[in-house]
Symmetry: C2
Subunit: 141 residues, 2 copies
DNA sequence: ACTACTCATTTGTACATACAAGCCTAGAAT
DNA sequence: ATTCTAGGCTTGTATGTACAAATGAGTAGT
């Protein structure tokens, strides 16, 4: 059955969750080439762009809780893609050589993901939707 | 930081997930009075409306995997809100007395959830968004 | 200098969900 | 009848995420 045919096709809870799960699945596919989950990949990309970023800053930009960020970094550290250095009460996250080497592949995955969702929906409509979703998310405190 | 201010505010992955998590949180609050998570509540409401529904049908309408449905039913059974009866190779789910007694409260929660999201966003815009999200979800195979 | 307080991070634990493999039961093929 | 197959459900296990409590390091009050 399609989501649009479901009993709950007018329910925000239903729509938001269903969409997110499907998008997650698509993203998972797109980032398979680098063997990272989408959130790991986004975090790594941020660190590559701004080496020495703090976890709290990552949490802000990715809109994830600090504890989740810790968990994501842990895994990237295991894979030796980033390293943490503790400076006083804060932690700085740096990409490793191996992490840096991954940048082009990451960008490729990013592009792939973007394309595979773009071909399903009109560019303008898509942009509108994404903006609306962010807006509503912000209102939800 | 707000989602609209994030580095990734144009990314579908980011927008869909951020929104879904926030909506989930709001829904969680709304259904606290009946001490059920939103998905448990929706499942129960479906069973109340159509006693004897099969898990596969629930999975279809709620757009969740069969295994997730099993897990949801298990918990509702523990709470003695529904019961399962195996008829040949299929399973039928029925509400219990206790489950039926919960119907008015469930409807109240449902209304609350709807209202608390409605006061944040224009009715028409909201309806549009929900419809668009379902549509896109369907296209994401 | 001692205490209390705050902030950034981590840890233990829990929840929502899914995938893959297994288990029954019903019906089909022989 | 016996075996094969398919469908519906369940089970083991894994992923993504968060909350609440714990840690540890600066900071302010006295």
């Amino acid at each position: 059955m399609k989501a649009t045919e479901s009993k709950y096709n007018q329910c925000l809870y239903f729509a938001a969750n269903t969409l997110a799960r499907k998008v997650e699945k698509l993203a998972l596919e797109s980032w398979k080439p680098v063997d990272l989950s989408p959130s790991h990949a986004y975090l790594l990309m941020m660190v590559l762009e701004q080496p020495g970023l703090q976890p709290c800053c990552l949490a802000d930009h990715l809109q994830l809780s600090p504890s989740t960020i810790t968990r994501l970094i842990e895994k990237l550290e295991e894979k030796q893609l980033v390293s943490r250095s503790t400076e006083g009460k804060m932690t700085l996250v740096y990409p490793s050589e191996k992490g840096m080497a991954l940048l082009p592949a990451l960008k490729e995955c990013s592009k792939d993901f973007h394309n595979s969702s773009c071909c399903l929906i009109d560019k303008e409509e898509r942009e509108n939707m994404v903006a609306n979703m962010c807006n509503l998310a912000d209102k939800l405190h």
